[in-house]
């Protein structure tokens, strides 16, 4: 059975046995994979259960459309939930690897955003270091230079560009700031006024000495 061909009929027979909880764990893993990968398997699984429900009670019958919509909506909610991981029992083949794979996919976005966040920090520090007299408020936001502004081309400060975020532009030597940035800065006034940021190099040095003290 476990070495049997994965043709449709065998697979559906496995699904049928799984409906009744009479499938070996290894075959159950394959049936779950089939549900994941194959829409016709999902339809079959639904139909088998619908048959059981309709046999037990007429008012459990459904045309299936509502059921499919229900699952679709629930999927969106489950996607926002952390992956469940409980202590693993023995004898369920390859399941831990599946869990890792699922986890990897679910949290895969974290790595790029961490890199992006790091980039923004470094860019911010660079800008701050190169232009100490620039208000710290502006230096905090690494931004691309508006290409239309001729004077901007001569500006040496805006070395790091982040195409994803452009809260500040430079037109005719004037800063055009995003209102969101202003709100952010207003909410973080204590940093704008702090001497550490006012003298950015001191700020950077203190960070490194912190690290060496450990």
């Amino acid at each position: 059975m476990s070495a049997g061909p994965e043709n449709d009929s065998t697979l559906r027979e496995h699904l049928s046995a799984l409906v009744d909880g009479e499938l070996k764990p290894g075959d159950a893993a394959r049936a779950c994979a089939a549900w994941r990968d194959d829409a016709s398997c999902r339809a079959t699984w639904h139909t088998y259960h619908l048959i059981g429900d309709a046999l037990r009670s007429d008012d459990l019958a459904s045309d299936g459309q509502h059921d499919a919509q229900f699952l679709k909506a629930l999927r969106e909610r489950l996607a926002r939930e952390p992956v469940v991981l409980a202590p693993a029992p023995q004898g369920v083949e390859s399941a831990p690897m599946r869990a890792v794979a699922v986890g990897g996919r679910r949290w895969g976005w974290r790595a790029p955003s961490a890199v992006a966040a790091g980039f923004v920090m470094v860019a911010g520090a660079l800008v701050a270091t190169r232009e100490p007299e620039r208000p710290a408020a502006v230096a905090l936001a690494p931004t691309p230079v508006a290409k239309a502004a001729p004077s901007a081309a001569a500006e040496p400060i805006l070395v790091a560009t982040n195409p994803a975020a452009a809260p500040v532009g430079m037109v005719d030597g004037k800063f055009i700031r995003d209102a969101r940035l202003d709100r952010y800065l207003a909410a973080h006034k204590q940093f704008a006024g702090s001497s550490a940021l006012g003298v950015p190099s001191a700020f950077l040095r203190s960070a490194t000495s912190d690290a060496s003290n450990r």
Partner: protein, 202 residues
Amino acid sequence: MNANDADAPLVERVKLGDVKAFEMLVVKYQRRIERLIGRMVRDVDLVPDIAQETFVRAYRAIPQFRGESAFYTWLYRIAVNTAKKALVELKRDPTVSESALAAREDDDETSRVENELSDGETPDAVLASKQVAAAVNAAIEALSEDLRQAITLREIEGLSYEEIADLMNCPIGTVRSRIFRAREAIALRLRPLLDTREGSRW
């Protein structure tokens, strides 16, 4: 884990992080859970929401599910608690759904029917469900005696394959095959009612 619980294999997989196994359990129980909630909360518009909340809570709590009861018993309890909580919130904040409260206070049969037919449960859907029920019953009648007996003992009497094998005096493998063939025969009759192209909406 309760060895008699037919859901044990899927529950184990959910605990190992397989969210798809949980989806399979949802498809299995969503109709029963919605019916249960529908009996507690009269506003049919709220029923799917409360059912969704039930399944989300169950998913969060499943690491704590030890299998001392059957999975469905456990899920049933969560559904009842979720529906009760929703009713309390509804009383505290009537703006959420005035129709829900009106439906609860007004036990007049006609207005109840009107309510049941709102949005989530359109006359079309009700008719389609009746057709499905009729098709399943007709398909059962058309089965051979062996297949009908096997699927009935399983789905209506809730017997295990082993018990059915004892009763029908045949190997377990035969039971499994008979139940499968019975389901296939019924599914064939249902297919035109359920969807034009199989699986297109799943």
